[in-house]
């Protein structure tokens, strides 16, 4: 097909493009807002809550990326299992190492 055909497009296609951009720009805007949020929170002295806020916001941002940009939300079960298995063993690694590090005299 020629470039002219692509550039022209029909109404249905341009409608699709608009929805495509709308969806992704919305996610992107949310990500930037979260970025600003964590930046601001880092300057508010709340002790451990300050540290936690950075991690929690990072977790929220990556959830958005994983579910919507990487389309895990609509993926097949076997793909979800693959994604979750990495997370599960990561949590196990942290948890069991902390059993040592946090319980040392």
């Amino acid at each position: 097909m020629s470039d002219r055909e692509e550039a022209g497009g029909d109404a249905r296609s341009s409608d699709g493009v608009r929805r495509l951009w709308a969806r992704n720009l919305l996610i992107w805007a949310a990500l930037l807002v979260l970025l600003l949020l964590s930046l601001v929170a880092a300057y508010i002295p709340m002790g451990r809550v300050t540290t936690a806020s950075g991690i929690v916001v990072a977790a929220a941002k990556s959830t958005l990326v994983v579910l919507l940009f990487m389309e895990l939300a609509s993926a097949k079960p076997q793909i979800r299992i693959a994604a979750i298995s990495g997370l599960v063993f990561l949590v196990a690694m942290f948890a069991l190492t902390f059993v040592d590090v946090l319980a040392r005299p």
Binding site: G86, A92, L96, D100
Partner: protein, 557 residues
């Protein structure tokens, strides 16, 4: 399709088999055929096996005398380190998965190849590159950290070629991950029609479970070695206690990989044995579904027990308790497997060809090794015997007695399929028995020496342990002969062996429906599967001696 065709008598296959499909060097080095890649791996790991074996031969010779007579301490330390690094990462980890796994996984599930054939070849080249690094480390003067690379010795004190050795292991880790990803995707996506999850042969399950560990544990090894390299080469402080670093942290990262790695080595061995025992006992495997769950449980729980390597390291008492408990728990699925193999013999029609002898040897040695593992799970006893020859004996029983026996079992079982040749059976039986005897002669005395307090990695040792070391070294000589024998008669069979039929053992499984050796694309027609594995007798019937009907490439029942 006639019955004669099904039985593998007539006629000759229309295309050349995979071995004769191209004979140039390039047709091997650029192949994407999983069977040829398996052969490439087999040659590679054989070279590494004898390299690692040569290193330990010198070590065992040296240990004849309590105060040393042949080697300096530095040479001794480099030799046992080289032995460990080569045997763990360049022989045991790739041994069964990358040779038999590569060869058999697509055949067993009725696929023409693995999911990503070019990635498969790439993984072999990574292994070769990694091997070059590690062998360079030896040639350039050796590395003396032991295979465990403990910090701060490896990162700050050793003056040997730690960088080259660690880089080699780092790279071979990526080969391992690539293979794991490939096998997982193959098992999920390329099963033949009708090959449901619970119709998979146990070997496929074993390779699948192994791949899970490879994919999820190996990256942590990569990080632990990367940190050592960064500290040595770039001077970044990570484990340096003088700058606030934590040397124990390295042990957490290292064992997060290296304990599951034991299951990378032994799960495929369990898979091999689970294929062989039903075939020669002419029975269904006892408790197929329990065997599957046990393998998955071992792969999963295997991630949560690493701290039992660290009971004396100074980790918290709470951590020791948790890890001790989990270590006892993981013994349960292992016990299930041993009981089920034993029960599979009950009311069978047992014959004792060489693969069966090796497989029974595996069960015996794995049981001994597994039981000695209980001692290491219980904290007070572990504190006494850890870092002694008791541990050396324990893990050699599992990894050498177990995995290497199973490797030879599989080698003899599938040799006719892989090469299309028959080997001299009486030599094979002799080697199997010799291997079992030699192994026990080598490693049984080490349990005693270890309990009495002989530490591992000792170049010189208190004189009272000499008797055990002499016994061990004598046994090692027997074992060396037993390992060299198959090299001789299997090599002989390549040139002079009789031609193997499609299914010389009368086994079930799709791989036996292909010709020996199989054609390049494995199957001429897409196989369909309509029954479970190990169908050696119909439901409710007793074991018979006839070859079972082949579970085969046919459309009608």
């Amino acid at each position: 399709m006639t019955d004669a065709l099904l039985a593998g008598e007539l006629p000759l296959p229309p295309h050349p088999d995979y071995l004769r499909d191209g004979s140039t060097v390039w047709s091997w080095l650029a192949t994407t055929d999983h069977k040829r890649i398996a052969i490439l791996y087999a040659v590679t790991i054989t070279v590494f096996f004898f390299l690692g074996g040569a290193a330990i031969t010198a070590v065992r010779l040296e240990l004849f005398e309590p105060n040393g007579w042949l080697l300096t301490s530095d040479t001794y330390n480099k030799l046992f380190s080289f032995h460990g690094i080569i045997m763990v990462w360049f022989f045991l980890v790739p041994s069964i998965p990358n040779t038999f796994g590569n060869f058999l996984l697509p055949l067993m599930i009725g696929a023409p190849d693995v999911a990503f054939p070019r990635l498969n070849l790439f993984s072999w080249y990574l292994t070769i590159a990694a091997g070059a690094f590690t062998v360079y480390a030896l040639v350039a003067g050796g590395v003396d950290t032991g295979w465990t690379f403990y910090t701060p010795y490896s990162s700050m004190f050793s003056n040997t070629h730690v960088f080259a050795a660690a880089a080699g292991v780092f790279v071979v880790g990526f080969a391992s991950i690539a293979t794991g990803v490939n096998f997982i995707a193959t098992t999920h996506m390329l099963r033949a029609p009708g090959m449901t999850w619970f119709r998979l042969p146990l070997f496929v399950w074993a390779v699948y479970a192994t791949s899970l560990i490879m994919v999820l544990a190996t990256p942590v090894l990569a990080i632990s070695l990367l940190l050592v390299i960064a500290e040595r080469v770039l001077g970044l402080p990570i484990f340096d206690p003088a700058r606030g670093g934590d040397p124990i942290l390295f042990q957490h990262l290292f064992w997060f990989y290296s304990h599951p790695a034991v299951y990378i080595m032994v799960l495929p061995a369990m898979g091999v044995v689970s294929e062989i025992i039903p075939c020669f006992a002419r029975r269904r495997i006892f408790g197929y579904d329990f065997m599957v769950y046990a393998m998955l449980a071992i792969a999963g729980i295997g991630f949560f027990v690493w701290g039992h390597h660290m009971f004396v390291s100074g980790q918290s008492a709470l951590a020791s308790l948790v890890f001790s408990f989990l270590s006892f728990i993981i013994a349960v699925p292992s016990a299930i497997k041993v009981f089920n193999w034993t029960a599979s013999l009950y009311r069978g029609q047992i014959s004792f060809e060489s693969p069966m002898l090796y497989a029974l040897g595996f069960v015996g040695l794995f049981t001994t090794g597994g039981l000695s593992g209980l001692f290491l799970a219980s904290i007070p006893v572990d504190i006494h015997v850890t870092d002694t020859y008791f541990v050396v004996a324990h893990f050699h029983y599992i990894m050498v007695g177990g995995s290497v026996s199973a490797f030879f079992a599989g080698l003899h079982f599938w040799w006719p399929k892989v090469t299309g040749k028959l080997y001299p059976e009486s030599w094979a039986k002799f080697a199997a028995i010799l291997m079992y005897a030699g192994f026990n002669m080598t490693f049984l005395p080490q349990f005693f020496a270890g309990y009495l307090g002989m530490p591992r990695r000792y170049h010189t040792y208190p004189a009272e342990f000499q008797i055990y070391n002499v016994m061990s070294s004598a046994g090692a000589a027997v074992l060396a002969v037993a390992y060299l024998l198959p090299l001789g008669y299997l090599g002989w069979s390549l040139f002079y062996g009789g031609k193997a039929a499609k299914n010389p053992w009368g086994a079930t499984g799709l791989e036996w429906t292909a010709t020996s050796p199989p054609p390049p694309k494995n199957f001429d027609r897409q196989p369909r599967v309509d029954r479970g594995p190990y169908d050696y007798h119909a439901q409710g019937m007793s074991a018979g001696t006839d070859p079972p009907e082949m579970q085969s490439a046919r459309d009608t029942r």
